[in-house]
């Protein structure tokens, strides 16, 4: 699985395991979501969702940083 292209399946070299504790509510939510996105296991769904969330949040952070940079260019000496 590439970080830049999360895939909804486990790659063949997924040999590490991470244990997760979840409430019943989380378990049901993830099961429903895995079914909706056509992913067969909860674990594969969590791996995929975590990678996707990281990508989205990183992209948002970069976009926010770009926006702050543009604002500084437009207004290099803001009044205090």
């Amino acid at each position: 699985m590439s970080f830049w292209k999360p895939e909804p399946t486990y790659p063949p070299d997924a040999t590490y395991t991470v244990t997760i504790k979840a409430t019943d509510g989380q378990r049901h939510r993830w099961e429903r979501a895995a079914e909706r996105y056509g992913i067969k296991s909860r674990g594969a769904f969590i791996a995929w969702a975590a990678d996707s969330a990281s990508l989205i949040l990183d992209a948002k952070e970069r976009a926010d940083e770009d926006r702050r940079f543009e604002m500084r260019l437009w207004n290099p000496h803001p009044k205090k």
């Binding site: 997924a14 991470v18 244990t19 997760i20 989205i56």
Partner: protein, 152 residues
């Protein structure tokens, strides 16, 4: 509170990245971070995926057909969108119609031809977001239909 425990498989790269992210964000364990990230993803999807609910009514609107002819058609309206049964080549004149065309009524431009009225409503809802973001400006200056090929 009842707690379930299960495992997630990961590659070496994923495992290292998740561990790093968990540490950077102050989670005591990688599993805790994964659970939070999965929930965060579902929230992002829920927020991003909610269509703007458009209200539709029956009415008449004008559309530029494939040959350039401007015709008035009867269909469903939710300005600035209209949907009629048929394709830009010809209006449907038979029961069990299998093609519906979404039109941007302000410019009479065809946006796409889809397999059902429901699909047209979803596409219109998605385009409505772009219209709101563009403060009413047409999302694309390209006069070609948004969807080039109707889905089978």
């Amino acid at each position: 509170m009842k707690v379930a425990t299960f495992t997630v498989r990961a590659t070496a790269v994923q495992s290292a990245r998740w561990k790093q992210a968990a540490e950077a964000e102050g989670f005591p364990s990688t599993g805790g971070w994964l659970a939070a990230a999965a929930d965060a993803y579902l929230k992002i999807r829920a927020r991003a995926g909610l269509p703007v609910p458009l209200a539709w009514r029956k009415g008449l609107f004008r559309v530029e057909m494939e040959g350039g002819e401007l015709v008035t058609v009867r269909g469903h309206l939710s300005p600035p969108f209209g949907v009629f049964a048929g394709t830009p080549a010809e209006l449907a004149r038979y029961p069990g119609r299998k093609r519906f065309t979404l039109v941007y009524t302000h410019s009479t431009r065809v946006l796409g031809t889809l397999a059902s009225f429901a699909h047209c409503k979803v596409l219109a809802s998605e385009l409505a977001r772009l219209l709101y973001r563009g403060e009413g400006a047409e999302p694309s200056g390209n006069p070609a239909p948004v969807l080039q090929n109707p889905p089978a």
